[in-house]
Amino acid sequence: MTEDNTAPIIEFSNVAKRFGPLTVLDDFNFTVRKGEKVTLIGPSGSGKSTVLRILMTLEPFQDGRLTLSGMSYHEPNGKGPFKASERHLRQIRTHVGMVFQSFNLFPHMTVLRNVVEAPLRVLGIARAEAECRALQLLDMVGLADKKDFYPSQLSGGQQQRVAIARALAMRPRVLLFDEPTSALDPQLVGEVLSVIRGLAHEHDLTMLLVTHEMRFAREVSDRVCFFDKGRICEQGAPDEIFGAPREARTREFLSSVLA
Amino acid sequence: MMYGYEWDTTTWLTYTTSILPIILIGLTVTLKAAAAGFAIALVLGLAFALLRRSRLIAISWTTAVIVEFLRDTPLLVQLFFLYYVLPEFGIVLPAFLTGALALGLQYAAYTSEVYRGGIEAVARGQWEAATALNLTRMQAYRDIIIPQAIPRIVPAMGNYLVAMIKETPVLSVVTVMEMMGLANMIGERTFEYLVPLTLVGLIFLLLTLICSAGLHRLQKALPKAGIPLR
């Protein structure tokens, strides 16, 4: 691990994202350093989730430039909405993982197979090794004993923990959390947050987290970005944003969610 | 019926144009048979659906068995049954009516399920609301249940009508001269089957595409919330 930890791993420069006539991101600039834990907050529809979905190549963007570890998302002669070949997109995806709001586990696979399937098929890791590592990850999220269960037999919190293990099994450098606790009953939020909190100590893992759990954001992140209308309205260390927000919009938003 | 006709089989084009008028006469028979069969299926299907909801177990079970039997046996054999067996009991119907009846019987089994599904899909709460408003069973059906069931029922019925049109060629085996029966007869006379059969196939394809497009528009036009009867 001799890499410079201050080097940017993600760089959005002047990115624009439109859905038909609707502009979601406009002249968007955003940089994340390697290993940094960044929380994105803001009202719904402000573009936070779109940033994650663009990074995961679930959504294309139209203008500007986005790089991951120096690799550009758009290719010079790329075709289609993504302006890149499927091959290039798959290359990018090897570095990124995502945890979804509604878990999106595969209902027809056991917990263990959910975690093992992608390393086995995509990375081509041997089954024994993939299973061994999957069990370690399941142990880490506290669900090794549920390995032969199907997702429908688990609670929402358990499913989300499996989803985190599944994402980690692909050894991403960047892990994206898209409102990971929003679909959970209040009493199940804690177990998922504590797993994420554990990950926050991983030095090499870059984390982007969209959440409405403000106390948690303050606790785990290195930086908090407040989104409004497709731009980052204010960003800084958690204590600055939560303790002494400069912008009126930030104050407004925080008082409405912390009330 | 076709004595005296001559067909010009020199090229497929002259052949087609010379048989087209006769095939189009067959088309009217096809459509009439489907219309008659569909009318029978709509009425009989409703009767089956209501009988099946009867509170007398003997009635609802017998109906269920009859419907299942009609649905799980081939139209062709049912048609033969009606065509050969009814006369043994002194009931002599024209071939066209026998054919329409066979189509109607088979599809009544399908339409009864559509009625049943349509009625059952109307939420239970609607029945309870009708009861709370002290409506009679008849009033509840007429004012609450059926209006809401119609948007569900109509598209499914339309699909069965299209399916029925495509099954009418079976009637040719009991001498109903619809399109395909005519095409075969022309083939027997000229020893050239492909042109008449292709023509009939294309007409069916056209009919199906037109009907599907029409159904699609109808489905969009139907108000989702239901159609009041009065």
Binding site: - | P169, L197, F204
Partner: protein, 221 residues
């Protein structure tokens, strides 16, 4: 004359009917998956080909198709025995409807599942075979069951291209004995019994698929 003397003939016919039905279902299922997948995943050219196939075989009447191929195939030098022609046409017909079932089920797989597969970097084929199809196949089963029964019923039409199936046997016996009532009643009951057996078989297959893919709490339609 006593019709019971003709039971062996009916039995032989029933055997032919069963054979043709099962063969058509098997070949039809292959066609259904091939063309259904082409519709969804095939890109502009392949999906148009699949669309034409389904529209032609769903849009024209089965009896017209049977006669057409019965007369047309020899003209292009392909002379199959009638049974092969019958099976191929029935299979193509069932395949046309089946392809629509496959297409419908595949396109009803939720986008969230597809996004999850994407986030795990599955290729398109891996997504299809490991994520979409295993989930879609459960959705397809009830419709496939109806299609199988439909194929059994429609197989009676092959008697009209001189294949000695159950319906053909019934016709022949009636022409000899003229005892329509008993013959056609027995024949209808035979078909009904075969349908019931087929339904049970379908239930078994459905249960296998369901257990294999384990949807413990999936609501049944």
């Amino acid at each position: 004359m006593d019709w019971t003397a003709y039971l062996p003939m009916l039995w032989q016919g029933a055997f032919v009917t069963m054979t043709i039905t099962l063969a058509s279902i098997a070949v039809g299922a292959v066609l259904a998956f091939v063309f259904g997948i082409m519709r969804v995943e095939g890109g502009p050219i392949l999906s148009t080909i699949a669309l034409c196939y389904t529209e032609v075989f769903r849009g024209t009447s089965l009896l017209v198709q049977l006669f057409w191929f019965y007369y047309a195939l020899p003209l292009v030098g392909l002379s199959f025995d009638p049974i092969t022609t019958g099976i191929l046409v029935l299979a193509a017909h069932a395949g046309g409807y089946g392809a629509e079932i496959v297409r419908g089920a595949l396109s009803s797989v939720s986008t969230q599942q597809l996004e999850a597969a994407r986030a795990l970097n599955f290729s398109r084929l891996q997504t299809l075979f490991r994520v979409s199809l295993p989930q879609a196949i459960v959705e397809m089963m009830p419709a496939f069951g109806n299609l199988a029964i439909e194929t059994l019923k429609l197989s009676s039409l092959v008697s009209l291209i001189s294949i000695a199936d159950l319906t053909f046997a019934a016709q022949s016996i009636r022409n000899i004995t003229l005892d329509s009532t008993s013959i056609y009643s027995i024949t209808l009951l035979c078909y009904f019994a075969m349908s019931l057996v087929l339904m049970v078989a379908i239930r078994v297959v459905e249960r296998l698929v369901r257990r294999g893919q384990a949807f413990p709490q999936m609501p049944r339609s």
